[in-house]
Point group: D2
Chain length 345, copies 4
Amino acid sequence: MINAGIIGATGYTGAELVRILSGHPDVKLSAITSRQYANTDFAEIYPAMKSIVDLECEEYSLKTFAHKVDIAFTALPHKLPMKFVPDLLDSGLKIVDLSADFRFKNISTYEAYYQPHSAGRLSEKSVYGLCEVNFDCIKDAELVGNPGCYPTSVLLPLVPLIKNRLINFNSIIADSKSGVSGAGRSISLATQFCEVNEAFKAYKIASHRHTPEMEEVLSIEAGESIQLTFVPHLIPVTRGMLTTIYARLEQTIKEKDIRSCISDYYSSSPFVRIYPENMLPDIAYVKGTNFCDIGIKTEEKTGRLILISAIDNLVKGAAGQAVQNMNIMMGLDETSGLRNIPFPV
Amino acid sequence: MINAGIIGATGYTGAELVRILSGHPDVKLSAITSRQYANTDFAEIYPAMKSIVDLECEEYSLKTFAHKVDIAFTALPHKLPMKFVPDLLDSGLKIVDLSADFRFKNISTYEAYYQPHSAGRLSEKSVYGLCEVNFDCIKDAELVGNPGCYPTSVLLPLVPLIKNRLINFNSIIADSKSGVSGAGRSISLATQFCEVNEAFKAYKIASHRHTPEMEEVLSIEAGESIQLTFVPHLIPVTRGMLTTIYARLEQTIKEKDIRSCISDYYSSSPFVRIYPENMLPDIAYVKGTNFCDIGIKTEEKTGRLILISAIDNLVKGAAGQAVQNMNIMMGLDETSGLRNIPFPV
Amino acid sequence: MINAGIIGATGYTGAELVRILSGHPDVKLSAITSRQYANTDFAEIYPAMKSIVDLECEEYSLKTFAHKVDIAFTALPHKLPMKFVPDLLDSGLKIVDLSADFRFKNISTYEAYYQPHSAGRLSEKSVYGLCEVNFDCIKDAELVGNPGCYPTSVLLPLVPLIKNRLINFNSIIADSKSGVSGAGRSISLATQFCEVNEAFKAYKIASHRHTPEMEEVLSIEAGESIQLTFVPHLIPVTRGMLTTIYARLEQTIKEKDIRSCISDYYSSSPFVRIYPENMLPDIAYVKGTNFCDIGIKTEEKTGRLILISAIDNLVKGAAGQAVQNMNIMMGLDETSGLRNIPFPV
Amino acid sequence: MINAGIIGATGYTGAELVRILSGHPDVKLSAITSRQYANTDFAEIYPAMKSIVDLECEEYSLKTFAHKVDIAFTALPHKLPMKFVPDLLDSGLKIVDLSADFRFKNISTYEAYYQPHSAGRLSEKSVYGLCEVNFDCIKDAELVGNPGCYPTSVLLPLVPLIKNRLINFNSIIADSKSGVSGAGRSISLATQFCEVNEAFKAYKIASHRHTPEMEEVLSIEAGESIQLTFVPHLIPVTRGMLTTIYARLEQTIKEKDIRSCISDYYSSSPFVRIYPENMLPDIAYVKGTNFCDIGIKTEEKTGRLILISAIDNLVKGAAGQAVQNMNIMMGLDETSGLRNIPFPV
């Protein structure tokens, strides 16, 4: 039995980690921390967990925490993990960090989009936790930077095609639509019910800081610099993210070639589901699961490829992928604790 | 391993049975039938189940079906089960019927609200599957009539109080609010998105046919005839049912007495969660689970008791309670396959 | 042309006043104030109003404000209006106050549920602005206390029956369901999208402070003290309020008698729509309008009456009724500016 | 006073026409027809209209209908208008047809995407009713083909840029998101509440038949053939359509040039609102109105332009634009009957 702990357990991502780890057959959730709710029962904050989760939120203390757990999930706002992680590593823990702090190889990119990095030297050690792409490195990692939700939904369909150079690298556009839980549990006017319900808008057009994260990974896979256009939108649903990707096909490529390329790449990836011709993903089909569903369509008249990916932003886009990373790091079955069956409706 | 089958697997209730049984550790889902979708892969009808459920819908045939399964769930419109069930029983199967056909002891009540009954003699044999109330009878039952969703939400909070005569029997009012999935998957104008979204209304006021079902059970528990006022409403959500019950307290009863009475009655019932003072149920807290959450409040100035119950209409209100009945009938742990952890959001 | 002003124009109720008054044929909206958004264009705060509302929010100043307007709407949190209103009255303005500050005749009731009242002496002068009930007094009023949303939905169906003593005064239960905009624009965790969406719950059971407001009005109409049970719930919609009322009928009263009684009472009230037998209100039918729709059903077996009322909480439950009050106070047609036609969907 | 009639008044588009025309100061709604609801009061089908619309649906008869009205709106499924329109024109009526039947100049394109056309010769006479673009032709038209909702949202932002050749004609991608009312009132599984709620998906990728409509208009404006990629998605809201358009800028064009170009083109168009830098449209801002809101953003690193347009699919995308067309055809003020003020929430 592995002892796991969560630093920052009461945000939506932290609470989703609690949900998944509470049902994980190989893990004991041994410690959860919260600044805001120290010494409060988790089930008081999330009444849904009554009679299921019997844990009290603790004030974080390195010594107490490190003593209880083998692996830590840091589910904190950007900037905080860079303060905690070095000491946790020194205490011998493995870490999956869900912030942006350890996602970048190029620290100056991180600093341009976020803030100065006080533990930038760890970028060499940290592995970008896109499980299906970096499986082998994750196996040996002590520190994993868990991918952002948008990057996960953009990268999984694109990486096989980039690696195999089937699309034009200058032609990529990603139009993403996310459920509201992606904004987290912090209160704000923008995420009040009446501001979001029966509404739909784009935001941070061509300026969202998940863009450099996507570009760094695509560039690494391509072996050359790739830039893309990324526009996120907000859907009035709690969970789910759908991304529609547009790109120019390199000549002579057919839809079945694209489908084969992606299917081959993910042939041993249990959480990627490639859709057959004439079927398309829906965020409803992946809700509560760790799946990334991918639909494929080519348009002859324009020579364009259209890819659709769907994930649950809180699962494959955050807590689920974090647990998948833990499974891989700890030598467990990749799907352990992640076999949640989706609702029919 | 128990072999289970579902007759009528493609409606919302049937599909929810598929979801639960596919994750049940002690059950193999061996046969599913559908008139409308015979010879179609279940995952084609419900793409969410791709790579999870590998079953084809069969045209129903007694011989084939009875050969494959130990226990059958009939998830069909009222009137159809009364045709199938006698032969299935004769073939040695146990049955949980999710329609109203086998819920009533008094067949003339059934016939007054539904239609003539062609297998009314089975009413002696059948057990009303309100698990927490009829546990001992269910253990020995071959045929269980699974309760309606509204009756489940009304009866669980009331039965202990009726049995202990803590409330006035003529004073009961149940004001229920249900998610839209309760109407099933059959298409209709009334359940089109644009007719339900941003809407809220009462329907079948004081004339819903779940009322006699509630009244029969309450009367049995009371040992005298009880009639209540029942008004259902439609909430623009997919899943969930919240019932607000009003009743006059018998003199000298305090809120803590009510809480004790209900808590004692359900002390060994894992799926009933009694809320402490100043906490109230929400359908969000039970979504996807088999819980029935109960909140309690007394109002001194009027001498009234107010009870709030919350269930997921497709789980505790239908498929979950059906599986709970199966677990009890088959001697399994009551909670087997039903330990789904709710989402934090 | 009447010059109107709004003190507190940027909350949802204030903004709804802006919407209605901007389209009012007999009114010029001459001044709007906001503490939070002083010196900001209203259309910057509410981009929907771009090219429609060309007004800047002002910091409130008695002198400037009183100079510009004939009638003021105070759309502020409880307690603030009692500070502003006396001076505004002294400056010769008429006032419709949308808070609770001037709704009560009995100031000790107000003080028991809200806070000490610094302008309690105005209770003699102020008129409770339930337009259809207090029309004649409103005509001559200088200060109107605009009713709460819940009281409006509870009182309109009940007043005629109370006045005619058709129901038992000790038997009244009001089970209300409100859209989220009733909670206003102030941010809070409880009204974040993810906390409300796909959720449904009761709150402030038998303790909501709209209860004494209902009881005072009912008691005045009855000529004796009436107490009722009131339970509010939150529906995941932006606008709309549906109230289901239960009461015991006095003997020999039939459904058609109830319908006649209510229809007669409102025979000259353009905003009350009484539904015929077998038709029921839906909040969708009144959205954006000043209507109060009323459905009626009697239940013979229990001797109970069930009433359903539907309003738009922001219109008839707040800003619309406030404008209706202004129309009456200013001698305009009661429906002026309030003939918004509802959406079919 | 102009006498207007609606053929097919009970679908969502027809009912929206009823809503708008009932409040139109210069129009009397004199006749409404319905096959399904002949001889039924409109307010019985749409109870929201009780006490507002006092019209009975008639069975359509050319003679009776043509006698009563000066202008007809045909709100019928594609293929039916081509049967009715020739006789209506012969009877001297003006017509706004809301189907696709009279939108195309090139009848073979229509026939390739819809069906054989029995009144194709009228294509010379009919005018494409994109009001802001074809104003002068509409003034003199007897027959207007009212644009599709998707084409309206795609064409309004693009036409000025195409005309001024500011973008690359081969680079256009339109990613549209529509509310569910666009699918109409006909019942189907795909638009049942539980299938759409908390869901989001693309459909008819690169194969929707609004694409050739867009391409014909863009090609006419460009004076050369233009093809674009169009992908529609379904948002779980009742009303609203947001389109995100991507295109390559021709060299040296800056964001302010784009904004000027579009602003100049629509300088006398009251229903187009161009957003300033750093503000973006939301479908919530246009709900219930005839506005088309346009947001503009350029991305230097990729040389791309991103345009966002928002309309209410039932108003500017259907019934509102149809009334705007009528206003222009009849010499009325373009905005008459269309000055609905949007809700703040």
